[in-house]
């Protein structure tokens, strides 16, 4: 069993001037682990996430999806606290429906990106404990990836990683994706010039590598590919240890 179930209510005694007072506390957050990767290409976008859900040192399930399709051209991958993850996904779905009724069209990926940022900042003082990656095709059909922090600060990038395996995967992508440097001036798009199948291979390899060293990443990786033809999902096994 795990040593610290951080969501349980705790009570501890505090001694002040010879008097012991019992102080209770409750941590509303938990980290359910996992890694999310997203890569934008010329006319495609790949988002992948492992399917392991953990708490403390235990595994809750080997079969939980972290990726959800929000609209025709946008897909959201989230890691962090699963309850907040699910609620955030439901909120965005509802807001997307309202948008479709009001504007009579699907939300574009940049529009969804802004909506997600606003939704996160709305809870600036009791945040969604989620680390998000939004992927899809922009209005010109080019791949785009938006990366977020827990309170909605976001940026469009060519590739990004969030979650417990972030530090393990990012250097590998920096090295392998052959994207333009983010330090260039004038700025160039950091989307990768690689083909879709090359990007998927890199994703599979990096998730497998993350699974080797990060205890919270493993079991299986779900890969979602968005391109002109549509959206498809594939699943590949990872080590279960």
């Amino acid at each position: 069993m795990a040593c610290t179930l951080s969501m349980e209510a705790q009570a501890e005694g505090v001694e002040t001037r010879g008097v012991v007072k019992n102080r209770s506390s409750f941590n509303p957050y938990d980290n359910n682990g996992g890694t999310c990767v997203a890569i934008a290409g010329e006319d495609y976008c790949v988002i992948a996430a492992d399917t392991r859900l953990s708490t403390g040192f235990s595994i809750l399930t080997r079969d939980a999806s972290k990726i959800v399709q929000l609209s025709e051209k946008s897909v959201l991958g989230t890691s962090g606290f699963q309850a907040d993850m699910k609620t955030l996904q439901k909120m965005l779905n509802a807001k997307n429906q309202v948008y479709r009724h009001q504007h009579n069209k699907e939300m574009s990926c940049p529009a969804m990106a802004q909506l997600l940022s606003n939704t996160l900042y709305y809870k600036r003082f009791f945040p969604y404990y989620t680390f998000n990656l939004l992927g899809g095709l922009d209005n010109e059909g080019k791949g785009c990836v938006y990366t977020y922090d827990a309170v909605g600060s976001y940026e469009r990038v060519g590739y990004s990683v969030q979650g417990t395996g972030q530090q393990l995967v990012v250097p590998v992508l920096d090295n392998q994706l052959k994207s333009a440097s983010p330090l260039l001036y004038p700025p160039q798009s950091t989307a990768t010039p690689l083909t879709e199948s090359e990007a998927v291979d890199i994703v599979k390899d990096t998730m497998a590598s993350a699974g080797e060293r990060d205890i919270y990443t493993g079991d299986a990786v779900e890969v979602v590919i968005i391109n002109r033809q549509g959206i498809r999902r594939e699943t590949f096994p990872l080590k279960k240890d």
Partner: protein, 303 residues
């Protein structure tokens, strides 16, 4: 119905036990252009006649999608209809969020009726001047409801509201026994023929009518059957094949030779049905033959 001293506000009863303001509100529904709804064992179809304020203006929108499984046709004050549709959409979205399942049709209709009733019992409000035909498909099957400004609601197998709706109702009363087992195409045809009865002058064209369908294509067996056909509105170019189908099918009954031609076409129909039954709401009896080459079978998914 003429003016009397008890009809100034909705909170005054007449000595005859009537609330005249509510009845006047229902008059507003009768002044709106016709809406027709009918259902079979698998689908519900709405058909409406659109009105244009002038030759220069567009036709008023009569059908609103509320959710993937639910939609309405309105007759009466368009603005009131829009407001109610916004309320219904919001309720459906909230229900989906909390219960992660589509809102049951009857429950939503009841909520709309309750909301309408409130306006009949407040001195600072007025009743909604719009009647709705609510078409939806939920876990208990396809449903068609009518709501009134009074706050009453009824479930129907077929119904027509709006101006000259009696003519449409007469058609429906004549034919409704056959609706239960109708295919989707036949149901749309009945809906168009019913709404056609309510036209005073002019023809039924793709510009002045709109149709909506929702239901579940018949599949393996009973409830676990085929794909859900999401609420889809057919207008303009999409409705043209069905209007053409009306004309084509009416012709053969007049001429003897063309009757034989119809029979020769009949064996081809089942094949076409299978070809197009890939999750789209097609199928049903064949058309006159010529018209259906172009997108006559497929119903596009979005408004």
């Amino acid at each position: 119905m003429f003016r009397n001293q008890y009809d100034t506000d909705v909170t005054t009863w007449s000595p005859a036990g009537r609330l005249h303001q509510i009845e006047y509100a229902m008059e507003a529904v009768k002044q709106g252009s016709a809406s027709v709804g009918l259902r079979s064992d698998t689908h519900v179809v709405l058909a409406t006649l659109k009105r244009a304020a002038s030759e220069l203006s567009s036709y008023q929108r009569k059908i609103f999608k509320i959710d993937d499984h639910l939609g309405i046709a309105i007759s009466g004050l368009n603005a009131d209809g829009r407001v109610l549709s916004r309320y219904m959409r919001s309720e459906c979205i909230n229900h989906s969020f909390v219960y992660e399942s589509p809102m049951p049709v009857g429950r939503l209709v009841c909520q709309v009726a309750d909301k309408s009733q409130v306006c009949t019992q407040r001195s600072w409000k007025r009743p909604y001047g719009v009647g709705l035909l609510v078409a939806g498909y939920d876990s208990t099957g396809p449903h068609l409801y009518q709501t009134c400004p009074s706050g009453n609601y009824f479930e129907y197998r077929a119904m027509a509201i709006g101006s000259r709706s009696q003519a449409a109702k007469t058609y429906l009363e004549r034919k409704f026994d056959s609706f239960q087992s109708c295919t989707l195409k036949e149901l749309i045809r009945h809906a168009l023929l019913a709404v056609k009865e309510s036209i005073q002058d002019g023809e039924l064209t793709s510009k002045n009518c709109s149709v909506a369908v929702v239901g579940r294509a018949p599949g393996g067996g009973g409830k676990g059957g085929g794909e859900i056909d999401k609420f889809t509105i057919l207008e303009d170019a999409d409705i043209q094949p069905y209007i053409d189908m009306l004309d084509a099918e009416e012709l053969p009954t007049a001429v003897q030779d063309e009757d034989d031609e119809e029979k020769k076409d009949a064996p081809a129909e089942p094949e076409q049905q299978h070809q197009t039954q890939d999750g789209e709401a097609a199928g049903g009896s064949g058309d006159g033959g010529q018209e259906e080459e172009g997108g006559g079978e497929a119903i596009p998914m979005e408004t």
